[in-house]
């Protein structure tokens, strides 16, 4: 089955965003598909949000509820554990992906399940659960149409919400005819969908164990929910006698009432609908209805590290709607694969490096995959200030290089330049000296009031913009030349401009 491409969560080295983006940008089919998809969802979302006079109040409530949860996460985790147990479920704790996988495989094995059905869960993509189960002799069937497509193709997701956005209908027809053994299949989307329905119905009826993620879990009542469109979520959480749900510890919400906020924010931000077709809310085990054994696996896997950063913490507000992907000018052009992570787009650019830890060259490049335009912040239903976190993480990446990069890090040109700049800007004498030197140095470069191209390593800056040259007379020189000649200069410490 699927051999997943290694990504930031596989443990090995991943390429820099820039390198991977270059590959994606060269794929014109991918760019066309992505352009069409992101634009369609973007416009639909705007309409769905426009309809809501209280959208801003809902966003604010969503942000505040998440903040309340995260600041008191230990209490809420204990409360959730208690509620789920009270309702007949079992709760497991997993410090990392490996531990989560081991727990889930253990449950499947205890029921002699050689096959399990799964409903889309990014958490299980993060832990590489499918690969783990395969090594343990258990085959995991993805049941979301897009996940099925990419699983059959042996590829990875390129979008949180529509993972097969990079595949067109004729590619999918080929794939289904080859892998599902269907003859005589048109490339009409309803026909393709029906082929998947028939193939999966058999799997659903047979499965002994279902595996799901969770959109939310209520600490107060223990009620977990899966928000979906296709009905595969209902199938996986209803038909198998045993249900295992893997969820990140940040998915908790305090009270049942709080669903009224998130169930308004999520569908409109995600699929741009008033409400998604199906949502299942279950509270532990219900006698005679659905699985009679329920396991909730609580996953840390780096989340407590994110929590530990007071600016980065808001990243855990994320409800995985993918609105930020669809408005991002960078994502629209590069697609999801360039991020080398199960979390692509702007949210991925801040979540991935924090989850895997700063200091890994591939994911350290992600906070730079942005023009800081701020569109992601504007659409975020839980008000994550993504640009703020991006800049903060850039700082952490640079500091990490300085602190732990050894001699090579210290001699890194960016570091050397930044340190020299810092020194220059902090001392008036050096600053003025630098201005004078620059005025002399720039004469071969400045043309009609602008520098169009800088030499050597600095050329990158002027690739896409002009640079203003140092003027004939600086502000400080002008100030001193006024009558009275700058008696106030230098009276405040650190004055440097």
């Amino acid at each position: 089955m699927t051999i997943e491409a290694p990504d930031a969560f596989s443990g090995g080295k991943t390429p820099h965003f820039e390198e991977s983006a270059r590959e994606s940008l060269a794929d014109s089919q991918l760019r066309r598909n992505l352009g069409k998809a992101t634009q369609t969802i973007r416009n639909k979302r705007a309409v769905a949000v426009e309809e809501m006079p209280d959208w801003e109040q809902l966003r604010e409530a969503g942000r505040a509820l998440k903040s309340r949860t995260l600041r008191h996460l230990d209490e809420y985790l204990l409360q959730l554990e208690e509620s789920v147990k009270q309702a007949g479920g079992q709760v497991h704790w997993a410090r990392d992906g490996e531990e989560a996988n081991r727990i889930i495989a253990g449950i499947a094995k205890s029921h002699d399940a050689g096959e399990v059905v799964k409903v889309k869960s990014i958490a299980t993509d993060e832990t590489k659960l499918n690969e783990y189960l395969k090594r343990e002799g258990i085959e995991a069937f993805e049941t979301d149409l897009a996940e099925l497509i990419i699983q059959l193709a042996g590829e990875t997701s390129s979008h949180i919400l529509v993972p097969a956005i990079h595949k067109n209908r004729s590619e999918i027809r080929e794939l289904f005819m080859q892998k599902l053994g269907v003859e005589d299949l048109s490339d009409d989307p309803p026909d393709l969908t029906n082929a998947a329905r028939l193939y999966l119905r058999e799997k659903f009826l047979k499965a002994k164990v279902g595996i799901s993620g969770a959109n939310f879990a209520v600490a107060e009542t223990g009620t977990v929910c899966v928000v979906e469109s296709e009905g595969n979520g209902r199938m996986c959480t209803t038909l198998p006698p045993v249900l295992v749900t893997l969820m990140g510890i940040e998915k908790i919400i305090p009270a049942w009432q709080d669903y009224e906020v998130f169930m308004q924010l999520l569908p409109r931000s995600s699929t741009a609908e008033r409400m998604n077709p199906y949502t299942t809310f279950w509270t532990g085990v219900s006698e005679g209805d659905g699985p009679q054994e329920f396991h909730l696996v609580l996953l840390d896997n780096g989340r407590t590290e994110v929590l530990d950063d007071e600016i980065g913490r808001q990243t855990l507000n994320c409800i995985r709607c993918s609105a930020c992907l669809n408005v991002c000018p960078v994502y629209e052009r590069t697609g999801g694969h360039a991020y080398n992570s199960v979390y692509p787009g702007p949210i991925g650019a801040i979540l991935t490096p924090q989850l895997v830890g700063i200091g890994k060259s591939g994911s350290d490049s992600l906070p730079y995959a942005s023009s800081l335009c701020g569109a992601c912040y504007e659409v975020c239903p839980v008000k994550i200030n993504i640009p703020e976190v991006l800049i903060h993480l850039r700082g952490r990446v640079v500091r990490h290089k300085q602190d732990e990069g050894g001699l090579r890090g210290k001699l890194d040109p960016e570091n050397v330049a930044m340190r020299a700049m810092a020194k220059t800007f902090s001392e008036p004498r050096l600053y003025e000296g630098a201005q004078k030197a620059a005025r002399i140095g720039q004469w071969p470069l400045a043309r009609s009031g602008a520098i169009h191209r800088l030499p050597g390593r600095l050329a990158g800056w002027t690739d896409a913009r002009d640079l203003k040259p140092i003027p004939e007379q600086t502000f400080r020189e002008w100030w001193r030349s006024r009558n009275g000649s700058g008696t106030h200069s230098g009276t405040r410490s650190g004055e440097g401009s």
């Binding site: 598909n33 069409k36 998809a37 109040q57 409530a61 505040a64 903040s67 995260l70 008191h72 996460l73 985790l77 204990l78 497991h92 410090r95 531990e99 727990i103 205890s110 497509i149 529509v162 097969a164 067109n168 989307p189 999966l200 119905r201 009826l205 009542t221 469109s229 296709e230 009905g231 209902r234 199938m235 209803t238 038909l239 049942w256 009432q257 669903y259 009224e260 906020v261 569908p267 699929t271 609908e273 008033r274 409400m275 998604n276 077709p277 199906y278 949502t279 299942t280 809310f281 279950w282 509270t283 532990g284 219900s286 209805d289 659905g290 396991h295 407590t304 929590l307 530990d308 007071e310």
Partner: protein, 237 residues
């Protein structure tokens, strides 16, 4: 840690290589360390949550019911309206149009709703229908717990006349009866009404907004993936 792992789980949990409870303690320790900036005397309720959004639709009843009908229909579900006295006939007609021969009937469904000329597959706690029987049936007839006008959503809570979840999942046709007085205006009104069910018996709740759908192939919307591909709603007033 490794020694503990070899010894197995000292706390009796059969899964997870014996580290389940130490994992719990460690995660809680990490969480507490990570939130050290939160003042010790701060309680969760001290973090302000401004609920400035709408929590009740003050529109006239008829307008709310009309909105519900419109929005359900926008999801490509079929919507009919009927008088109470006319309901059995409307149900029989719908089943006739669809060509239903075997109809799944949940426990607690009013007897007068069931058409005479169909074979009924009755589900009961003591004698539940098998998944195969449900899969082979032609359709299912249920009531509901609530309707939400704002979003065109039908809410099932596995109560009387609705049945367990599989009943409205495996058959390919779902005919759902919604009484006008069950329709609320806004999403928060629905969650408020459901609170008792969840906190009491803890029954599972399903939100249905149109038949299942996917946009996974080139973002073309296809109605009907899993679950009933046809949803028909009868609003009774």
């Amino acid at each position: 840690m490794e020694i503990q792992e070899r010894l197995g789980d000292p706390f009796g949990n059969p899964f997870g290589g014996g580290l389940v409870t130490p994992a719990r303690e460690e995660i809680l320790r990490r969480v507490r360390r990570a939130t050290h900036d939160v003042p010790k005397d701060e309680h969760p309720e001290d973090v302000p949550v401004e609920r400035g959004y709408r929590d009740k639709d003050d529109a006239p009843r008829e307008e709310i019911v009309e909105r519900f009908a419109e929005r359900v229909a926008e999801y490509e579900a079929t919507v009919h309206r009927a008088d109470e006295s006319d309901l059995p006939r409307a149900i029989a007609e719908a089943c006739g149009r669809r060509g239903v021969r075997q109809l799944v009937v949940p426990a607690g469904l009013p007897e007068e709703w069931i058409p005479e000329d169909v074979e009924t597959l009755r589900d009961a706690a003591s004698s539940p229908l098998s998944n195969e029987e449900l899969d082979r049936s032609d359709g299912t007839l249920t009531g509901c717990s609530l309707g939400i006008a704002q979003t065109g959503t039908i809410v099932l809570d596995a109560g009387e006349g609705q049945g367990r979840r599989a009943l409205t999942l495996l058959p390919d046709y779902h005919l759902c009866v919604v009484r006008e007085e069950q329709i609320v205006g806004l999403v928060p009104e629905a969650f408020a009404k459901l609170e008792e069910t969840v906190k009491g018996e803890g029954r599972a709740i399903t939100f249905i907004s149109g038949p299942s759908a996917t946009s996974d192939i080139e973002l073309n919307r296809v109605e009907g993936v899993h679950g009933p591909r046809t949803l028909e709603v009868l609003i009774v007033g």
